[in-house]
């Protein structure tokens, strides 16, 4: 089977998955959730008022039609209006995307780069004290609550020491930078633990392969082996690991955005949770799932391009 047929088949498989995602979202929000009409009106609302509200929200329509609405929104990106701000949701998403990406993109890039460098360094000293310390350090860093990092950074570094902006955001290229530096640093600290552990495992898996022994036997230096042979072969799991997390960047860092008052998509999502804003929550779930599905197709296709050994089934 050649790569084009594989790609097309992989794309076709997207349809049932997307329909399934829509079904889960529909099932959770439209079938099992508490009645939103009651949540929006106060508890003294009459039966008639509730019925009118349900009609206005389209909740009195047959379930199948409501499911079709969710599916339709996934293909047209028309998510309707927010219940709390009455704003067009697609507009909210457009507005929120830039602040989110201005935080998450540089943070993700730097975190990945730093983690790969550290793990290459650590695998060079595999089995030695540096390596063991680094592993213990990573596990330690992973074990601290992310909220603790954020609160400590905001309170101590920004408020107490005055090194960074405490919170807020300004649009435009050079102006946003002071507001995202501290969140970026916290993001990097949060991801170094799991990332270094993962990259180190991947690199060490390769280091014990036969071809490395051959390379060493013909007299190549350890550095050349590490960069030219091991890194190249470790690239497949690394690429998967990196690419599959790109869709989560659009959600930004939910907690970081909310703590540092960055008006991004993550903040919008958390506000929607707090104000029971169903359409926004649905839209964000649909959107992030679509992003995830898209990128998992890209990873699968990249796989076959990067590594000819991967057989197409």
């Amino acid at each position: 089977m050649n790569i084009y047929i594989y790609t097309i088949r992989r794309l076709l498989y997207v349809i049932p998955v997307l329909l399934g995602v829509c079904f889960i979202i529909f099932f959770l929000f439209n079938v099992v959730s508490p009645d939103p009409a009651r949540m929006m009106l106060d508890k003294h609302a009459t039966v008639k008022q509730i019925a009118e509200m349900r009609h206005e929200l389209g909740l009195d329509r047959p379930f199948f039609m409501q499911y079709l609405d969710v599916v339709k929104s996934a293909f047209t990106f028309n998510f309707g209006r927010s219940w709390s701000t009455r704003q067009e949701i697609s507009e909210m998403i457009m507005d929120g995307a830039i602040p989110s990406l201005s935080l998450s993109f540089p943070a993700f890039f730097l975190a990945t780069l730093i983690s790969i460098c550290i793990s290459l360094f650590v695998s060079f000293f595999r089995g030695k004290v540096i390596d063991r310390l680094a592993v213990i350090f990573c596990v330690g860093m992973m074990s601290v609550s992310s909220l603790a990092y954020i609160l400590f950074g905001q309170w101590f570094l920004a408020y107490h020491m005055g090194l960074f902006e405490i919170s807020g955001y300004e649009f435009g290229f050079p102006f946003f930078i002071p507001y995202v530096i501290l969140p970026i640093i916290i993001w990097i600290i949060l991801s170094i633990g799991p990332d270094v552990r993962f990259y180190r495992t991947v690199i060490l898996d390769e280091i014990y392969q036969d071809y490395v022994r051959t390379a060493r036997a013909k007299g190549l230096s350890e550095i050349v082996i590490l960069f030219k042979h091991v890194l190249k072969n470790a690239m497949i799991p690394i690429i998967t690991y990196v690419v599959i997390r790109i869709p989560f960047l659009i959600l930004g860092a939910l907690l970081l955005e909310s703590f540092f008052s960055i008006p991004g998509l993550g903040g919008i999502t958390l506000d929607a949770v707090k104000s029971s804003d169903f359409p926004v929550l649905k839209a964000m779930t649909v959107l992030s799932s679509i992003a995830y599905i898209t990128f998992s197709v890209i990873t699968d296709v990249l796989y076959t391009v990067v590594d000819p050994r991967v057989r197409l089934k």
């Binding site: 603790a148 400590f152 869709p247």
Partner: protein
């Protein structure tokens, strides 16, 4: 591979060699005992479990609601970890919080393992249409980002310990399901399974009595990791206001600390973060040690 061979062996040997059939587990156990970090980590897990049980039965920290001093008293010898806004002891709150953390961790891990193992084993063993359906089902589930799924479940199920456990369990079974499915597929055509079939074992007997014990190490490792992940996620849910309500939890303490830090009240954050750090670290280290001891692929490295 080691596990398959030992099980294979146990199928064919007589009673005199029963001791040998358990060699994988015995081997794992003895290497775990030699691993100092694993022993220490496990002792901490036990300690937390005892504290949680004590708090649950009302033996320890049952008077956490009592006012012991002024509001926001700083940590001194009298108030070991200071007091909160109502003058309650932060130390007792942190201890009482252990109950919620361990409860949430345990139930979440159990739920996610039950779902993951059942679906994964059925998919891997029976294959065909059932497999396709289950693969579709978990692909769908894993296409929704974990945090969105978790928030949605927690939001819809409402507040409280039970719904937090349900939400966490329902959103964290996919990775285990995928692993178990893969392992069952690798095992189902092994000789020991055919041997079991030859002496008249049915599908469920083969699956639950023969294959599952051989892939069970994955479950144990996963238990440890899911447990600590649940403790960490409970904190985030509590911060979002859709977490535990009725009992003091570390998440709620950190949430309260958010407003207190500006006044310089850091002890509530420190107590909760430290209590959490120790148990999460213990589970992480234990998970690693279990993986080293139980994963046959890592043997000899």
């Amino acid at each position: 591979m080691e596990s398959a061979q030992t099980a294979d062996f146990s199928q064919n040997t007589s009673k005199t060699k029963v001791a040998k059939s358990k060699s994988l587990w015995q081997h794992a156990f003895s290497s775990l005992l030699k691993d100092k970090i694993a022993v220490i980590a496990f002792s901490f897990v036990l300690l937390y479990a005892v504290v949680a049980l004590g708090a649950g039965l009302g033996i320890i920290a049952s008077d956490w609601t009592k006012e012991i001093g002024p509001s926001y008293a700083a940590p001194t010898f009298k108030y070991i970890l200071g007091t909160d806004i109502f003058g309650r002891s932060v130390a007792l709150k942190a201890i009482k919080g252990t109950q919620v953390a361990m409860l949430v961790g345990l139930f979440t891990a159990m739920l996610s393992i039950t779902i993951g193992v059942t679906l994964g084993a059925i998919a891997g063993y029976f294959g065909g249409r059932i497999d396709e359906f289950i693969v579709w089902f978990y692909t769908t589930f894993s296409s929704i980002p974990y945090i969105m799924l978790l928030m949605t479940f927690a939001f819809i199920l409402g507040k409280g310990v039970t719904s937090v456990c349900l939400a966490l369990g329902l959103s964290s079974w996919v990775s285990l399901c995928r692993l178990i499915r893969g392992e069952v597929i690798r095992h189902k055509d092994r000789e020991y399974v055919h041997a079991a079939a030859a002496i008249g074992g049915g599908d469920f007997r083969k699956l639950f009595l023969h294959i599952l014990p051989n892939v069970f190490h994955i479950v144990i490792i996963n238990f440890s990791l899911t447990f600590q992940m649940a403790i960490k996620s409970e904190v985030i849910l509590s911060y979002l206001g859709i977490g535990v309500q009725e009992l003091p939890s570390w998440g709620r303490m950190i949430d309260e600390a958010k407003d207190e830090l500006a006044r310089g009240v850091w002890w509530q954050l420190a107590a909760a973060a430290l209590a959490m750090f120790i148990i999460v670290l213990a589970f992480n280290l234990l998970g690693d040690a279990l993986r080293d001891a139980l994963d046959p692929k890592l043997k000899g490295k």
